[in-house]
């Protein structure tokens, strides 16, 4: 063992404070003093109730401020008329490291292109890595700070994110009237637990037995 490669050689090295060696009475005197010092610190907090940091969560729901960046729930952005921009391109599905996203194409699209039927997002296997949001070429996904999502049944953690099956908002905007738009789309339930998913089986999840909520 060469000692020169240890501490002294480098100028950035800072030896830490060594523990002083004390005699019998020195230890008793120092000991009592140090104990009182520690007790002073705790007493300081005891007599200053303003230092309490506890947040009483369900009661303070009204005043709870959450950062808009918090990633807690994936959602598909729907514009004010309720249409989204998803073209069912499956890029988010491929980017997802845990196979938490299933983009299901509509079997009989209203136009010749691919159309979204179901956008299945599995909260149970999602790690909130945000990659799906980042890679989406149409910026139609976002992470929301909604964090109260605990349920008693794992199957309720599979969400369908789209409100309708059909083409994108761009296609729908080109339509002349509301009637034409209505004909092109088919409503879907959002955030409503396991839907039938067109016979889709989700790995690791028991098959749906739950009645659809009306």
């Amino acid at each position: 063992m060469d000692d020169d490669r240890l501490t002294a050689k480098n100028n950035y090295v800072k030896p830490v404070q060594a523990l002083p060696i004390r005699g019998f009475f020195g230890r008793i005197a120092y000991g009592l003093g140090s104990l009182l010092k520690g007790m002073r610190v705790t007493m300081h907090y005891f007599i200053h109730p303003s230092t309490v940091v506890t947040q009483q969560y369900p009661e303070n729901r009204e005043t709870l401020v959450l950062s808009p960046r918090i990633r807690s729930q994936l959602s598909l952005i729907h514009d004010e008329s309720g249409y989204h921009k998803c073209t069912a391109c499956h890029i988010c599905e491929q980017a997802c490291p845990n196979a938490s996203i299933h983009v299901v194409d509509r079997p009989e699209p209203a136009i010749s292109k691919k159309e979204l039927d179901f956008f299945i997002w599995r909260l149970d296997s999602c790690t909130f890595c945000n990659l799906c949001v980042m890679v989406c070429p149409f910026q139609c996904l976002e992470m929301k700070p909604t964090f109260e999502s605990s349920v008693y049944d794992q199957r309720l953690l599979a969400y369908n994110l789209t409100k309708y099956a059909g083409p994108t908002s761009t296609v729908l905007a080109k339509q002349t009237d509301d009637e034409a738009r209505k004909n092109m789309i088919e409503p879907r339930q959002v955030y409503d637990g396991p839907t039938e998913l067109g016979g889709f089986i989700l790995a690791g999840m028991p098959e749906s037995t739950r009645e659809k909520k009306s």
Partner: protein, 347 residues
């Protein structure tokens, strides 16, 4: 056998027993709540807030839960001893409690050898811990029990040594006599130096005797998971818990009685006006005020200090506290022999 007329004393005895049991349950509940609140505020928390106003009913909810909880006994445990051990602990606590004078009238048993009785009976409590740890058939429990055994028996010495100092000055073993002897001032400051030192030794050693941090090696949750009561649940665990908090109360009560003048108001020698002012506060309030203060100090210890190691625990007792205790006793003997303490002629 004493032949007392059973027709008269029987209801009284039953009443006393029920009273004591009720008293310890209520005191333990209050202490548990107090500990949780005190701990919380030491740690910048709020503590229990949900059950009742500021969580005041939390202890009742907890004890109800403990009553209703399934009683789990390990298959290979010694069933008889496993069931018996918590009872011994509680029994020791109750037996100690009856000798403590709460005020000049409220004394259940004014034993003529009060101090001796208290230190002897409270020593039984360790048996419960030892048996509980051994009968659980769990190595962690056994380790905890063995630690507790060694610790409590060792620290018993220091407690007794510091109590002896007061006995020397008071000249009696009867607890009411000791309280009466402090009419002119409490022994903690009336006996110059030695009283204070004896009190400090008593406080440290009795904290160790009741297994509280920094001496909670018997439980030591970060080392032994839960120590001797690892395998206890439900009501039996509640019994250990009860005994623990009763012991806390008893230690504080003994400290108040011997060093802080029990139910006696704060009197100073010949200051009559001050003494009369102090007399307006009833004795029970004085007593419980002192007990609460002492309990708070012991709680303060717990929520500030880390735990000692087992060898340090032993060397603290045998190398520091015991020699100091003996030295203190020697000095105290001389002081009391020559009457060199404050206001020796008042009573």
């Amino acid at each position: 056998m004493p032949s007392v007329s059973s027709t008269l004393t029987m209801p009284l005895m039953v009443g006393t027993v029920l009273g004591v049991v009720g008293f310890i349950s209520v005191v333990a509940m209050i202490l548990v709540y107090a500990e949780r609140k005190v701990a919380a505020h030491f740690q910048c928390r709020l503590g229990p807030m949900r059950v009742g106003w500021h969580g005041t009913l939390q202890s009742i909810a907890d004890s109800l839960k403990l009553f209703l909880k399934e009683d789990i006994v390990p298959t290979k445990a010694d069933h008889l001893l496993h069931a018996f051990a918590p009872v011994i602990s509680v029994m020791a606590a109750i037996l100690t409690l009856i000798a403590i004078p709460f005020s000049s009238h409220l004394v259940l048993a004014d034993v003529s050898i009060g101090v001796l009785y208290v230190s002897a009976v409270s020593g039984i409590g360790v048996l419960g811990i030892l048996l509980g740890g051994w009968s659980s058939n769990n190595k962690w429990s056994l380790l905890g029990a063995m630690r507790a055994g060694a610790q409590i028996i060792s620290y018993e010495l220091s407690v007794t040594l510091s109590l002896l100092v007061i006995i020397l000055f008071a000249g009696s073993l009867r607890l009411t006599d000791i309280v009466h002897s402090q009419e002119a001032g409490w022994w903690i400051w009336r006996a110059p130096g030695v009283g204070l030192l004896a009190f400090v030794l008593f406080l440290i050693a009795s904290t160790a005797e009741i297994n509280r941090t920094p001496f909670d090696l018997a439980e030591g949750e970060s080392e032994l998971t839960a120590g001797f009561h690892t395998e206890y649940s439900g009501l039996r665990f509640a019994f250990f818990f009860l005994a623990e908090y009763m012991n806390l109360f008893i230690v504080a009560a003994m400290g108040a009685t011997l060093f802080w003048g029990g139910w006696m108001p704060l009197h100073i020698g010949g200051f009559t006006a001050f003494n009369q002012l102090m007399d307006f506060i009833p004795g029970t309030v004085w007593f419980f005020g002192k007990v609460i203060t002492l309990i708070f100090v012991i709680m303060w210890f717990r929520w500030t200090f880390p735990r000692l190691r087992v060898d340090q625990l032993m060397s603290l007792e045998w190398k520091v506290l015991m020699p100091l205790g003996f030295l203190n006793l020697l000095v105290a003997a001389f002081l009391s022999l020559f009457g060199w303490y404050f206001f020796p002629l008042v009573f």
